[in-house]
Amino acid sequence: MSESHGGYYLPQPSYWPLVGSVGLFLALGGFAHFLVDHGSPLWMISGFVILAIMMFGWFGTVIHESGSGAYNAQVDRSFRMGMAWFIFSEVMFFAAFFGALFYMRIFAEPWLGGASNNFFTHQWLYPDYVAHWPSNGPGTVGGKFGQMPAWGLPAINTLILLSSGVTVTWAHWGLKKNNRGQLILGLFMTVALGALFVGLQAFEYHHAYTELNLKLSTGAYGSTFFMLTGFHGLHVTIGAIMLLVVLLRSVKGHFSPHHHFAFEAAAWYWHFVDVVWLGLFIFVYWLA
């Protein structure tokens, strides 16, 4: 089935991309239908199911091709570049939200309090407002709320993520030494730490909602806090799923010390998620 051109593997026509397009269309269109028209969520769900099927099919094909030795080093390099630039795009996605956070803290808040060229903004619209952070604005949108302290759960979560970075590297060493036990154990610990992280974060959210009255709708602070940590949490979940798949594939013995792009891609992603968390910890929790 493989068609090799001067060494570079060119795949046969494939229906998976089209399936993916249909899936994404249904997932997002269905979500919009749900939000706008309060329609049935079934459209959206079916979209995600199709997407999941597409991933299985597509990655299954890739794994099969890879296993049959169709990919040379150049193909491998293409995959690596693809993953690296994809991660860069993710970095920029987070940059938009960090940008919003910095803008609100450094500019919008002081301006609402009368700084810079906003003397009249303050005097006329919000005479009683004193700029501060964390804040839900002059309208105290969402009501009084409590701040999320840095040195409780978040600090523990930082430790968890940092150690998971270590375990995944340790697993990589194992893979390179062809020590499958170390590989599997390392991966297992990483996935477990990731799951623990997500669990603790869910706990933290619960605490925020029920005890601190800190919600997504709590003005600027709530918006930035939940959007940043939420998208991060989502990425941790995705990364953990990727690692879980890699773990299962390791158990099946898919990887060789020299040929394990999937492992590396997941590991890079994991490190990226790690670094984003450090940014979050510093700017969302610590310096709040």
């Binding site: 795949p11 089209l18 997002l28 269109g29 979500f31 919009a32 706008v36 693809g82 918006s223 959007m227």
Partner: protein
């Protein structure tokens, strides 16, 4: 650049036929073709919207549509042209040409390439679907808040979620396309093709792809914040909650300004291919072209707030963004001067691609110079949101980006189809377009200076005259584009056979393969010396 290459046509020629060929294809040429047809279709749709605008503005009073519908036309025109016509047009050219120009057998990630394309029709469907979602079509239920969808105006839109997700789909498609292009250029070059030997079209696309990956996710973040502000109670753009409507504009233009260079850099590359060919002289200042492109890309990240000189930024901010913006004239000037210097003492002929390239240099420069006028803050206070801005950006977009794409089609069409096209039809198309495009957009400078705000469904009588010129020009220009359609179809169906080289002065790997370029090329990498 001389090459040794072996080409084994025949053996790899089998490919699926019928609809399946196009739906499932992983071939860069097929995908390039799909992109180009998609782009042209969207161009006609977006152009039809423009014609509704121009017909309505032919004289004062609302003869055809109501204001709500008019706003929808403006919005959909801008969105469809930018995301549907220009960007996919360039990606289509990249798909066809980059593997041919760097000596690669295909794009680096062919399956993902298919996905990048096939997301587009779905995204376009999601974008236009709300137009048909209300009780009456003429009510204007589609997006009506300008292609810039400023908050809080867009937050008043009932069907906002569809719009947001359409942008997400477009973004995913663009990002995947850009990743593919970068990987192809960095990883798939034929031996000997060092970075500084790459054709400029390849260079400009490399930099464009980088811009895409850097800013499309920011756009995604921007629409996501809109989504949560509308449906989940966040306060990003709400002052009462500590947000700021202007924050929206910062995020949007952080994407938006690099976006306009995304739409011009590949055109720079095309012109840099065409002019040397027909001047029969090497491109002047190759390396300074590369550095200038990179400088433009770099500067494009620090000028975004020149779209926001009237929002009440602190003066220091206005000054910074003015200085940074005018600086772009320097590297862009380098490019313009290099093109002129390439023509200088060449041995020029004026086949259709050259005609488009020369008018590109001429008219893009006019648009660039009005850009410099816009960048001067106190003067921009007068120009901002008037037709002067509309004139500026149509000079850079229509006679810039669009002319670039059309020039590229004329340049490479024989390579794609294997046939030469009708010279006569091409000349008619060119001259009609050239005259009418100026008739359309030049008077807009005057309507703008006189003070006519943009996005206006109706206007005071003093602006009538220039609007009438614009409207007449727009219809001529629009219908002239049908000549291109006819020409392309005729060329696909037959005509005088094209040689491998096609153009006398053409240089580069794409001219070493037969015309039409076989389904698979460079199965064995050529050696570039």
């Amino acid at each position: 650049m001389s090459t040794t290459m072996t080409h084994d046509a025949g053996h790899h020629e089998e490919h699926p036929t019928g609809i399946k060929r196009w739906l499932f294809t992983t071939n860069h040429k097929d995908i390039g073709t799909l992109y180009l047809w998609f782009s042209f279709t969207m161009f006609l749709i977006g152009g039809t919207f423009a014609l509704v605008i121009r017909a309505e503005l032919f004289e004062p009073g609302l003869q055809i549509v109501n204001p709500q519908f008019f706003n929808m036309m403006t919005t959909m025109h801008g969105l469809v042209m930018i995301f549907g016509a220009i960007m996919p047009g360039f990606v289509g050219l990249a798909n066809w040409q980059i593997p041919l120009m760097v000596g690669a057998p295909d794009m680096a990630l062919p399956r993902m390439n298919n996905w990048s394309f096939w997301l587009l029709p779905f995204a376009a469907t999601m974008l236009v679907a709300p137009m048909f979602m209300g009780a009456h079509f003429m009510d204007g239920n589609g997006p009506w808040f300008g292609w810039t969808f400023y908050a809080p105006l867009s937050l008043q839109y009932n069907h906002l979620a569809y719009f947001v997700f359409a942008i997400h789909l477009l973004g995913i498609s663009s990002i995947m396309g850009a990743i593919n292009i970068i990987a192809t250029i960095l990883n798939m070059r034929a031996p000997g093709m060092t970075l500084m030997k790459m054709p400029l079209f390849v260079w400009t696309w490399l930099i464009t792809a980088f811009l895409l990956i850097a800013v499309m996710p920011v756009l995604a973040g921007c629409v996501t914040m809109l989504l949560t502000d509308k449906y989940f109670g966040t306060s990003f753009f709400n002052a009462a909650g500590g947000g700021d409507p202007v924050l929206f504009q910062h995020v949007f233009w952080f994407f938006g300004h690099p976006e306009v260079y995304i739409m011009i850099l590949p055109a720079f590359g095309i012109v840099s291919q065409i002019i040397p060919t027909f001047a029969r002289k090497k491109l002047f200042g190759y390396s300074s072209m590369v550095y200038a492109t990179a400088s433009i890309a770099f500067l494009s990240f620090i000028v975004w707030a020149h779209h926001m000189f009237t929002v009440g930024m602190p003066v220091a901010g206005e000054l910074f963004f003015m200085y940074a913006t005018v600086l772009i004239a320097v590297p862009t000037g380098v490019k313009v001067f290099n093109w002129v210097a390439t023509m200088w003492r060449g041995s020029m002929t004026f086949e259709p691609p050259m005609l488009w390239a020369i008018s590109f240099v001429f008219l893009f420069t006019i648009g660039g110079l009005s850009g410099i006028m816009l960048a001067v803050v106190p003067a921009d206070v007068q120009y901002q949101d008037t037709y002067f801005v509309v004139a500026h950006f149509h000079y850079v977009l229509v006679t810039g980006a669009l002319f670039g794409i059309i020039g590229a089609v004329y340049y490479w069409l024989p390579k794609w189809t294997g046939n030469m096209y009708s010279d006569k039809l091409a000349k008619w198309h060119f001259w009609l377009s050239l005259v009418s495009v100026n008739l359309t957009f030049f008077p807009m400078h005057f309507t703008g200076l006189a003070g006519m705000p943009r996005r206006y469904a109706d206007y005071p009588l003093e602006f009538t005259r220039f609007n009438q010129w614009s409207s007449v020009g727009a219809f001529i220009f629009g219908f002239s584009q049908l000549l291109l359609l006819i020409l392309v179809i005729k060329c696909i169906r037959g005509g005088q056979k094209a040689t491998s080289e096609v153009w006398e002065g053409a240089e580069g790997l794409e001219w070493t393969v037969p015309s039409p370029a076989p389904y698979h090329t460079f199965a064995i990498a050529p050696e570039v010396k």
